[in-house]
């Protein structure tokens, strides 16, 4: 029998090489960031790095502006995530089973903030805030972030809802549990890890967001905005490198955790994207 492309058998050398080279391409720039964070050199970005040091970490954590930005980003991400978890779960619970008029419209509406370019969401929010006379600041950043984080939570939760047989809910009611008891004993425990995974992804997304934030931040400076600002003023490259590595970690680690929480059949965050 000739080679069968259907079986997970032998891939041609070319395909194998292309796949692994693709992975390398995806990870190389990230590795570079990690390498530079420990570089002894303090001015240029020359390659290869000159030596290994940890001193830039202590320098970075002594910088008030960096700490301020970290604190602000964490606060915003926490609040935005909580709002997104609340709204996303409600929307998923409403949409996963019953068919009603406008259902497709609502799911489209949830996706719109990430399907439309971030700049549209950003400037739209800014113009609305200006019209209403709301001064841009932490509050406006949170509103923006929560808006596009809802769909992340929604996607995770609705996937779990769909995977959970509806007869579990019927069985619970059949055994005498009312709606609240069913929610507490059956729905919530089954939803838990998906909700947590969605929350962590939303957190990572909020922590890193820059396009919408540019418009809604006013004078506030989140960590990504601080970084962007550093790029146009390449004075303290080593500190920038350390912060870059930290941001990288904060945004990458949740995906690992989310993966392990929702392992087994459903997509973590593949669809809907970020």
């Amino acid at each position: 029998m000739h080679s069968n492309p259907a079986a997970s058998g032998q891939a041609s050398w070319g395909l194998k090489l292309a796949a692994w080279a693709g992975l390398l391409f995806l990870h190389f720039p990230i590795l570079i960031i990690f390498a530079y964070a420990f570089n002894t050199e303090d001015a240029a970005f020359s390659f290869p790095p000159q030596g290994f040091t940890l001193k830039w970490f202590s320098v970075t954590f002594a910088r008030a502006d960096v700490l301020e930005a970290i604190k602000l980003s964490l606060q915003i991400a926490c609040v935005a995530t909580l709002i997104a978890m609340f709204l996303g779960t409600l929307a998923a619970a409403a949409l996963y089973r019953r068919d009603f008029f406008g259902k497709e419209g609502i799911s489209l509406m949830l996706i719109l903030p990430i399907a439309l370019p971030g700049i549209v969401t950003g400037i739209a929010l800014l113009s609305a805030f200006k019209t209403l006379g709301i001064e841009p600041g932490m509050f406006t950043i949170i509103v923006g972030h929560a808006t596009f984080c809802v769909v992340i939570v929604y996607n995770n939760v609705i996937a779990r809802f769909r995977r959970t047989s509806y007869s579990l809910i019927e069985a619970s009611m059949d055994l005498g549990a009312d709606g609240w008891q069913t929610f507490r004993y059956i729905i919530l425990p089954n939803l838990g890890s998906a909700l947590l995974a969605g929350g962590m992804l939303a957190f990572a997304l909020s922590f890193d967001e820059i396009i919408v934030t540019t418009f809604t931040a006013g004078h506030e400076r989140t960590l990504p905005l601080w970084l962007l600002n550093q790029l146009s003023r390449p004075r303290d490259v080593p500190v920038t490198n350390v912060v870059a590595m930290l941001v990288m970690l904060v945004t990458m680690l949740p995906i690992l955790a989310a993966y392990y929480l929702t392992r087994g059949g459903e997509s973590v965050a593949g669809s809907g994207g970020k």
Partner: protein, 316 residues
């Protein structure tokens, strides 16, 4: 077991939560409404309210001399979009978005195909995470990493020098419309950064589409006498098109609205995003900025209409 009637008297509690549960059970529409009201209020109020405000402001008048906005309605901003200078910006952005989508699809396909068809168990999980992590890794840091890579004396140049490819690089940078004076100020550099950042968004939908393809289909094709490449062209590729289309929604839309990468890498010359940013920020011409945001909205809407026909929404 005891089955006397006394033993089975139902023990119903009568707390407020129980009464609420029973009310909501009897009135499923009320229950649905209660679930939907918070998200609808948020999205209707915050999101659509903002979008409408924005579009409305696109009709306001901006006075070039006093640099002020007056709420007199005009179509001048919309008309201005068709000025040659603005037209150039739109075309430049659109060309980049299409080029990035195409290149991402070409690069993503082998990775996705390998993931879907030639990996199992632990290797599949490894590949999946290895694609997801860069996808979720900080956008701004990824862009920053590329400024380091492409900088003069940076990593890219070191590799080019090591392999003695300086002449080749100079040749490529000399091509008009593609090159530039250095890698970090060339269209090519900007293109590379975009492709890098959005590539994972293309890999995963294609992989998912290929994963859904039942092996029996490919076996049937082989059984009916198709050679492997014929099976690929006749069966695999057509059935992976929804995945490619779904992935391209991200690559297209995200490139179209970006203003950070064009600011960091590549030659001068505005993108749609940078134009919007500058109009509302430095110039303070909110009406023109608002009118400009119509461009990506319209382009994305057209794009969505096209890829919907390719089945993109089923592959999301």
């Amino acid at each position: 077991m005891d089955h006397s009637p006394n033993a089975r008297a139902p023990l119903h509690n009568t707390g407020p939560l129980h009464r609420l549960s029973s009310l909501l059970y009897r009135k499923p529409n009320l229950y649905l409404a209660l679930l939907l009201i918070p998200p609808l209020l948020w999205f209707g109020g915050v999101y659509f309210g903002s979008l409408l405000t924005l579009l409305w402001q696109g009709l306001y008048t901006f006075n070039d001399f006093s640099m002020t906005v007056t709420p007199t309605l005009t179509l001048a901003n919309l008309a201005a979009l068709f000025q040659p200078a603005n037209y150039d910006i739109i075309l430049r952005t659109l060309a980049m978005a299409l080029a990035v989508s195409l290149a991402s699809a070409l690069l993503a396909f082998p990775i996705a195909y390998y993931m879907a068809r030639h990996t199992q168990g632990k290797t599949k999980a490894f590949f999946y995470i290895a694609v997801m992590m860069p996808m979720w890794a900080s956008y701004i840091v990824k862009a920053y990493a590329w400024t380091l890579l492409l900088a003069k004396g940076g990593v890219a140049q070191w590799f080019v020098d090591q392999f003695g490819l300086t002449a080749v690089l100079q040749l490529i940078l000399g091509i008009p419309g593609v090159g530039g004076s250095t890698l970090s100020t060339s269209h090519l550099g900007r293109f590379l950064v975009f492709v890098y950042i959005w590539l994972p968004f293309m890999i995963l939908p294609i992989q998912a589409a290929l994963e859904r393809l039942p092996p029996s289909l490919l076996q049937a094709s082989a059984d009916l006498g198709a050679r492997p490449w014929q099976t690929f062209v006749q069966v695999t590729l057509p059935l992976s098109i929804p995945g490619i289309a779904a992935g391209s929604i991200f690559t297209f839309s995200l490139t179209l609205g970006d203003f950070i990468v064009p600011q960091l890498v590549g030659p001068p010359g505005f993108f749609i995003g940078s134009m919007v940013y500058v109009q509302q920020g430095a110039i303070g011409n909110m009406p023109m900025a608002a009118a400009f945001t119509l461009v990506p909205i319209v382009l994305v809407a057209c794009y969505l209409a096209i890829v919907k026909r390719l089945g993109a929404f089923d592959a999301l």
